[in-house]
Symmetry: C2
Subunit: 200 residues, 2 copies
DNA sequence: CTCAGATTTTGTACAACGTACAATTACTGT
DNA sequence: ACAGTAATTGTACGTTGTACAAAATCTGAG
């Protein structure tokens, strides 16, 4: 048993997974979802395309990491303050999540294109879950509600992204779209609140 | 003025746009969303890849046509019967739409990947609109509600599709997922109904 | 009936993609 | 110093969308 797995030989890594994800994120911002290519990322970090495969098994893994990256920015524990009304907290979280995703065009497609089961995605889900528990939903219904809220947020982002010009990387989100998003979210929360009230 | 645009010369078309869309649909069923390629479609109808470009300007147009095809199957005027309760009609329409999309794996990604503005998509929207009018929503709110319902249906389909094994073309939709879909739809409809009641 | 003109189909080709494979390089513990 | 190991690269293959020009095929006018 010689292999201690500590300080093992080999040249130093010139990159990190983080550097690759940063490059991918920049590429997503500059060139849109289709602009995120292995070759592009490699070029941006100044390395041969194959080098990326030292850090990620394949492109799908890079995209998953990218999504995780985006979700990580949202999950401050800012929404767990039970003093604030639960509806306000959910609205704030939903709006922030949406804004984060819309800030990176094509992120919606990426999010919906991969089973997002990373830790940050879980964390967002857990945050939502705790808020809904505060709202008075029993665990089963709260889990359902998390799913429905996810669907609404991701669906809305995807639909909004789909209606934009894919050739242009940047976009302006109109107030009209935001109002529509809030309106739908309000109806959904109304339904959830009524359900919680009926079953307590 | 010689060009009457009628019976103009040239060899007969060996294909039709419909034949191409049929091939694309079959490919979608057999190989999943990534299996729908121009070259694959062309091979399936027995023609050189370039021939497809006589009928469609590019691949995106083919995919749009494909989505239209799917939506066309749903839009029977079966849901316009004002005698039935509006909630039942919306649920039936939503479930059918979802079933149709889930029957073709990857259709969700296609739907969300293109601004679906074709006539069949409009028709589905109009059907929803009329049902919501029957429900007592004024035109403005009804339009909002159509958007939200679209988001919910498309979002749910996309999320469900994203969680499946992309390598396998077929899938079994569990009852559990269907129940979850209905539960969310119910909450949404609760919220919409309450809103309609508050503003009449 | 012929034939010019219009149009579909094809052959060929290119750039870009993901990524497999083997060789090369750069390191570390013994 | 050196052997072993890991990171990186060079090269390459197969696949994709699609541009371009040549070829094949049809129709209406004469």
């Amino acid at each position: 048993m010689v292999d201690t797995r500590r300080g093992r030989p080999g040249p130093r890594r010139t990159l990190s997974e983080q550097a690759i994800l940063d490059a991918a994120l920049a590429l997503l911002a500059e060139r849109g979802a289709d602009g995120v290519t292995i070759r592009g990322v490699a070029a941006r970090v100044g390395v041969a395309p194959n080098a990326v495969y030292t850090y990620f098994p394949d492109k799908a893994a890079v995209l998953e990491g990218l999504v995780e990256q985006l979700l990580g920015r949202v999950n401050d524990n800012r929404f767990t303050d039970a003093a604030l009304p639960w509806r306000d907290r959910i609205q704030a979280l939903a709006l922030e999540l949406r804004a984060e995703l819309l800030a990176h065009p094509g992120a919606g497609r990426l999010l919906l294109g991969s089973p997002r089961v990373g830790p940050n995605a879980m964390a967002v889900g857990d945050t939502l879950l705790s808020i809904l528990a505060d709202a008075g939903l029993d665990p089963g219904n709260a889990a359902n509600a998390v799913y429905v809220l996810n669907v609404h947020i991701l669906g809305a982002v995807a639909v909004e992204v789909a209606t934009l010009d894919h050739t242009r990387p940047t976009r302006t989100v109109t107030d009209l779209e935001t109002d529509l998003f809030r309106w739908g979210l309000d109806r959904l929360l109304d339904g959830l609140a009524a359900h919680a009230a009926n079953h307590d």
